[in-house]
Amino acid sequence: MGKRFSRGPDGAAASRKRQKVVHEAPTSEEIHASRQLQQLLSFSQDPVRARHGLQSFKLFLDDLLNPDSDHGDRPRILRDYLQSARPAGDDDENAKRQQELVARNLSADKGKAFIISPTLRMLKEAVSFDGGAIARPLFRARASMLKSLARNMGIVHIGDEAEDTKRPSARTNAILFFLSALKFLHPEAKKELLSQRDIVSALTRDVKQDPPYLVRELLEGLRSHVLLDGKLPREAKAGLLNTSTLTRVSALYQYRLDATAAEGPSIADSAHEFLLTACTNPTCGVLRQDSGFYPREIDPNAAIPAAELDDLGLEAIVWMNKFKTEVPVRNYTLSNFLPNLRPWSSVKQSELITSIFKVAPELVASYFLTNKSFTFEPKLSATWIGYAAFLFNTVTLPIPDYFCRATAFPELPPPTSIVIDNILPLPLNQKALSRSLANKSNMISFFATRILVVAIGKLDTAIKMHQDSSHSNKSAWAEAARRLADEFCQRSPGIKEMINSYRSIPEGDLLHREAASRLLRLCYEVLPQVALMAKFDVSPFLETALSRLSKQELDDPKDFALSLKELENLLAIAGYSPGMRWFAASEALSLSPFTLLLKVCVDAPHGVALEAIRRVLNFVAVEQQLVPADDKHPGLLALLEALQSLRQSSPDSVTPLWPFLDNCLTRCANAPVKYVEKMQEVIQEATGTAGQDLEGAVASPVAMAILEQLPFVAAKEEGQATLKALGRFLPNFLGLSATAGESRPLLSLIFSKMVPHLADSKGKLAKAGVPQGLEFELNPRPHTTETKPKKPNATTAGQEEAKSEPAMDAETLENTLHMPDGLEADNSALVKWATKTVDELVDEGYLTSLIALLVSEHASIRKEALVNILKTAAKIKQSEYEEKEQVWLLLSELAETARDNIHDGPLPSPIASFACHALNVLRDPLSSLYAKVNTFLTRGPVWTLDRLPLVDEVLSEEGPPVVAGGGADAAHYTQISWLLGYLLDGLRTPCDLELFHKKRARGPVLERVLALAANPYMRLPLRTQVLRLLYRATCVEGGSTTLTTRFGIVNWLDARQAGCCTDGGDGAGEAAVLGGLRRRVWETCDQERVRVWSKGALGEGVSSV
């Protein structure tokens, strides 16, 4: 190929360069007549002449606009000119010619922007002329006016430098014309304009390259004249706001041409505002009303025959399991748009998605199902943190009202998979969360912990919504709630992992520790069965937190308050877990946890709120009988106040007191009765010698313990310092006790016995006695005046008071105490087990479902179940299952026991229930019941049907030694908990109830259970379990009558209610439960019979509760 010859020495350069046009200032002339004006403006090929004419006209107009000049003839000249220039007779022909001209200009060759742009500018002026006066006729000529508009929108500025605002591109002019048209056209016309797909598409295709001012005008114009135009129908808006428009606008989040110093919001901010409005405002045409957690296409109110629901449970609802891989949605535009956003890299995009989720909750599950590529695998990177933040925001979103944004719950519960996808979205699976919790980076585990905290809170809300009393299909909703909890446990890390994560947090990371302890506390509150299974011993954590707080290393009071939050969480956990050892000092600690807690209270920086901790101290003090269990007694307050005021007046004196006080408190807690008796001795002594009548006088047992220990102080190290401190402390303490309502004469007597042991050489203390009129200055105190010694007839008054207390209504009572039937028949169990592995049989409940069928009403089912149990036993025996021998033995003995007894009726429920619960024990060789169950099994091949297995073994075991040591007490309460669970499942029919009240060597089982609840060391969860058993008994035919006439249940409930301490929230709540239960007993018993039995004593009083 030959080289191209250049045309001359500088030909190449000359040909590429555009010829420079030199503009000289145009000439002009003054205008005196319309005729002259007409000549000047007539078309001319000669540019000099043309410019001369235009310049003259411009100066003429300038002068006309100048208000100061004398216009003379000018207005008339202009009017005459316009008259003459007007097209002759407005004929159509003329108009058509002009339209054709415009159309031709608009569709000129792409390169002729110098023709297209001015035409577009002229059209823009025309459409906005006089407030849109001629917009309507212009639109009628749309065939010409909008000619090639879409194409012209595509003629963009080309070049490296930014578009010059003085020389806008054809695209810019086209957009500005379009926006003016939107502004001035009437809604019908706008609707048609927006239905032109090519125009709408061209409008945003190149928006990323547009100059900033144009982007702003575009967004603002579309916002005011489309999005927020109330007269424009939704469909018209939807025409504009399709997925691709939204996606292109979202590209502006990465807009690069923004001037850095520009005032006002950035383009990204404007785009964000635009998208927020477009996607979340239902009038904008994008957002459609969905039905929350119920996907499109399903009918949440479908009528399903009750029998079918009873038989099959949730399986009767065909769509219940249908949405695990795909969720059909109504908001398809949004659903297609969302995957284009990058929530992990931008706060705004994350905010946009969550705002959309909030108004269209149906999208949450579907979003994560269709965007599986992004995982939550922990990695210390900005992207992971961004994703974690996005997920946190998603989990924090509220659950839609009634799950469906309606005004009442539908008949059927929402698909469980969708609810759980909203609580723990798919990327938050067990593996990823566990690895995050265990990650060596503390920040990663912190983020995971926080997500779990909000998730479990949301789970709580969802479960409560499932348990709402207004549901008509209660059993289906209850089953769905159980499934939900199960699903949650499968996605969430186990509690052991949470505990380990908590354990690994450095001591000083207060924020992290608070979050981790909050998570554990929530587990106990929301999923108690799971939490209690972990056998978590909270004591070491509590001790660490206490010692950190008591060492006072936290300078910032805010840090102290935050640390207190952690302590509160731990205290709450201690309240839920059985067998917290309050009065056992570990090796690491010099004081018991209780005294440490007291010390934290006393040493707390001035003003820190200690209400929750005071409540715990009081609760424990009452429970351990350190102080009288009287509603009006302010509990430990006198001790606390005396210590606090001592700390203020003489800070050094408090330190030597702690070991002494700890000793006294521990002794008193371990043997409270001893000190009550000692007090009686003092009272009697006073009556005998001084003739004082102190019968019924009240003082705290702890004061007696102090008196007893005083003589030993002097012998100890630092004894003198302690005695000196006690000399300051004791008068104050006793004085405050008197102010708080204890008996002053008795306290004076005790003080006089104390004085000889105190350092009181000058007799000052003895002379002053117990000071009078001391005020509580540091602690708010319930108003009490010093009481006179009470006469013993106070009991009747107490009863009346108890009866007027509020009782829980029937519905709340049912929610609190009703437990689903653990032996509910599921006939499908007969076939389901066959395909399962032995592990699944034992661990996933297939075996227990089979056992439960032995209590079926139908003989054929029972027999079938028996055969299948024998088959499973054989299968297990041949397997590699670790505990196969014991499980086989259990099943064989059960079968042997059942064989001859199921022809005429069901197996007694307690027997079946025992088998089910024993099976769970055998699965876990570490269980404290393991030995007991095995001993029972080896005792003989057949069980006695009219005895409840293992009841004696568990109940007759000595209670834990009060001086708590090791885990013995915890094990004891675990066994009680197991026993109550098995008894509860075993009480279903009147025949079962007979077994519960049958006379036995050590008394009827029910009587022994009632006695159990009187154990002051037993915690609320176990006490509630006893009440559940009673509630179950009232559900059995004749149960309430038996409870009343055989067990005096009304008096028992009265006594329990009177014993509830009402200072804290828990006590009042329990009292209400007891009251509600009493009413239920009365309402469900044979009232005539009970009236006769009680000789009329029961009736009015109970029913008036």
Binding site: N442, K558, P780
Partner: protein
């Protein structure tokens, strides 16, 4: 006491600032590592701050008030 109470917004702002200050102290080492990561650019800093402070949502307004103000307020007398 009511008259000296700060408005909720002020409390929330104070608490957020305390929360952030605590978080940056506790996770200083990790934060340095994130800042050195390849993908730390553009909006990442804003993202990081927003991610850290969203944890304030775990604390109810009362809890926030307690932590921020109780320490500075003399306890009221009965």
């Amino acid at each position: 006491m009511a008259s000296s109470q700060k408005p909720d917004q002020e409390i929330a702002a104070e608490f957020t600032s305390y929360y952030l200050q605590r978080a940056t102290t506790e996770f200083a080492e990790d934060l340095d590592k994130v800042r050195a990561a390849d993908d730390f650019k553009n909006d990442a800093l804003q993202m990081l701050v927003s991610a850290l402070q969203q944890g304030t949502a775990l604390f109810s307004p009362e809890e926030q008030r307690r932590i921020v103000t109780d320490a500075a307020r003399p306890e009221s007398k009965p």
